[in-house]
Subunit: 137 residues, 3 copies
């Protein structure tokens, strides 16, 4: 069994942003040399998420609007009593999920034709970290 | 370390459908011969999901109604400007999630008594694919 | 490749409860001796979830309120025709997800500074089970 670990950092200009990291994951996989296994891609903060979906700008705007409708910015969350203002970002993280697991087959990410991996930032303008961990052979 | 990879295809008659695939996963596991490890079950399309829950028809109808309430079919999603009409299906996929990871212990899926694995189709009537990837020993 | 499997049981006094299990997972990892790999933490029931977020009581109350707003207790779910009254708990499970996968690096959980793992009970006052499964080397 082999393993390979990498970290990515983000510091987005906008509070919320959606960044396609598929190519970064493919590069990490190539470095690992692993042919069969799994890649875990997981946000290391609790106000950001990772998801798989389409690289279509209209859809990304739909996703952002939908997340903010179901987990709205602004209301008086109890969490804000700590001095934070990002209660919505914690809920958006729970909604979309913090991580995905990608299958590796014959040395490649075994994804469908439209599957792209996104880092979803919900409370940017500060340094955030993500882990790419590959296990296999 | 051993690995085993299988694909399933679906082409549902209905736009939305919920298919119990637990037995299919058990068969793939038996073929793999793996005793201790993980099974990744992941939709390869971005308008379908995979989840674990109960094989109870009333509950499945509740799940369908609930998903359509929170990510409704029909409204004018920006994504529809591309000619698609399945914006809701992308959001339902994000809501329920595209994948699950199942533990394997002593050669069996190590699930609780009511845990059944479902493929959730949100934009059917076309050919869709799913991957079952097993890693272990 | 090595593996290590443990089970936890819960029997909460309240219908809904949120229990920090990070230390339990760290203890299981220490017993396993695994240095590089993955830990799957997965509820074995379909009315409970597992998530990663902050150990902040205000936020936990926000999460509970938010889940109950989007998947409310009480309404006449079709599932209740079976005699159950926990339709909401099934939907809350789907909302938050049943499991997380944790990376192991140099023998430790490779988590960010605020990441804590929670067992989320949505239909307590009965015995429930969770699996911790570690694979690696």
């Amino acid at each position: 069994m082999n393993s390979h670990t990498e970290y990515m950092t983000f510091n987005t200009e906008k509070r919320r942003d959606y960044i396609n990291i598929t190519t970064d994951i493919e590069k990490a996989l190539a470095k690992s040399g692993i042919q069969e296994g799994f890649v875990l891609v997981s946000a290391m903060h609790i106000t950001a998420g990772v998801y798989i979906n389409d690289a279509e700008p209209g859809l990304i705007a739909d996703i952002d609007e939908w997340l903010d409708k179901l987990a709205p910015l602004g209301p008086d969350y109890r969490h804000h009593r700590t001095g934070e203002d990002n209660g919505d970002a914690h809920l958006k993280n729970l909604m979309i999920g913090p991580q995905v697991m990608l299958p590796i087959t014959e040395g490649n990410l075994d994804l469908g034709p439209w599957q792209q991996v996104y880092y979803a930032e919900f409370d940017g303008r500060r340094r955030k970290k993500l882990i790419i961990k590959i296990i296999g052979e």
